[in-house]
């Protein structure tokens, strides 16, 4: 099942957005690792496609999931809504997150989590804040000295 998303008004001529779980691994006891393909298709059939990864219960806490490859997700969101206003970007980010939740719910496992652990480079901090509602965030320095941020995003009710 593919979930299609409404395009933002100033959408850089992207016509269709889709979210689909393409690969699922049953980890244990409650964790499912899911590769989610996010795609944007323009009128001329030019497509932008990226993969992100979602772990349904990586820490054992049933209230949280984890989204990996946030940089790829942000690149996708920027591609789709580069001309949109900040309000439209937040609405679009929420819509994509909702589509990811729906995809996991319908294709993988009953899924009602709203908190997602993320870990991203300091450079994309402003983009993260534009597209998502940060619940908490804290900076740290990685072992290779990269400036990183550990955070939690929340899906609005």
């Amino acid at each position: 099942m593919t979930v299609y998303i409404q395009a933002p008004k100033n959408n850089n001529k992207v016509e269709k957005f889709s979210v689909e779980a393409t690969e699922v691994i049953k980890c244990s006891p409650g964790d499912r690792a899911v590769i989610i393909n996010i795609k944007a298709i323009k009128a001329n059939d030019e497509a932008y496609s990226s993969n992100i990864r979602l772990s349904t219960e990586p820490t054992g806490n049933c209230q949280t999931a984890l989204i990996g490859h946030m940089d790829d997700l942000i690149s996708y969101l920027n591609y789709c809504s580069s001309l949109a206003t900040d309000e439209e970007k937040r609405a679009f980010g929420t819509e994509v997150l909702g589509a990811i939740i729906t995809t996991v719910n319908e294709q993988v496992v009953s899924f009602k989590k709203r908190l997602f652990i993320i870990d991203y480079h300091f450079d994309i901090e402003s983009n993260i804040q534009k597209y998502f509602q940060l619940h908490v965030s804290t900076p740290y320095k990685s072992t290779n000295s990269s400036r990183m941020i550990l955070g939690l995003i929340i899906m609005p009710e």
């Binding site: 691994i25 244990s28 993969n51 990864r53 772990s55 820490t59 984890l66 990996g68 652990i117 740290y140």
Partner: protein
């Protein structure tokens, strides 16, 4: 640790240690942690480790940290520094995972209840900690802990 007391990491019977066809986006290793006293198992927990959970190759994620803390709490440390016990435990985990993977990460995410934080700080070096209230109202802390590869790195 008493002479006849030891921890053994072993294979979990489920679908563990698998990778996606996309290769780099590899997956979870689930393992059983047994605390032995002599020849008998005194306590057993299951935990897991998610490699490259966030896409950042410098970090991994540890699941079921409360169980790991329970096992460490049952160890008789005697004069041993608890942080040394933490390193020794993870060296067992690394040795187990190292059979199939090259695993030298030092930074690990954990997500724990607030009342477990003092235990985490006892056994591990907490790099950052961020308290939050979960969607069910639980007081939680998301942390990044640093586990050196060897005891000399700790000093």
């Amino acid at each position: 640790m008493e002479n006849n007391e030891y921890i053994k990491i072993s294979h979990y019977g489920g679908d563990e240690d698998m990778s996606f066809s996309t290769g780099a986006l590899n997956c979870t290793v689930t393992f059983i942690v047994d605390l032995y006293k002599g020849n008998s198992i005194r306590y057993r927990e299951t935990a897991h480790l998610v490699e490259n959970a966030t896409g950042n190759c410098q970090t991994a994620c540890i699941g079921y940290m409360d169980g790991i803390l329970k096992v460490l709490g049952l160890l008789s440390l005697e004069e041993k520094d608890p942080k040394v016990a933490g390193i020794e435990f993870f060296n067992l985990v690394r040795a187990y995972i190292g059979r199939k993977h090259f695993f030298k990460k030092r930074l690990f995410f954990i997500d724990i209840r607030e009342h477990h934080l003092s235990d985490v700080e006892k056994y591990f070096t907490v790099v950052v900690k961020e308290p939050y209230v979960s969607t069910n109202g639980s007081k939680m802390v998301v942390c990044l802990i640093r586990i050196p590869l060897s005891i000399t790195e700790l000093q």
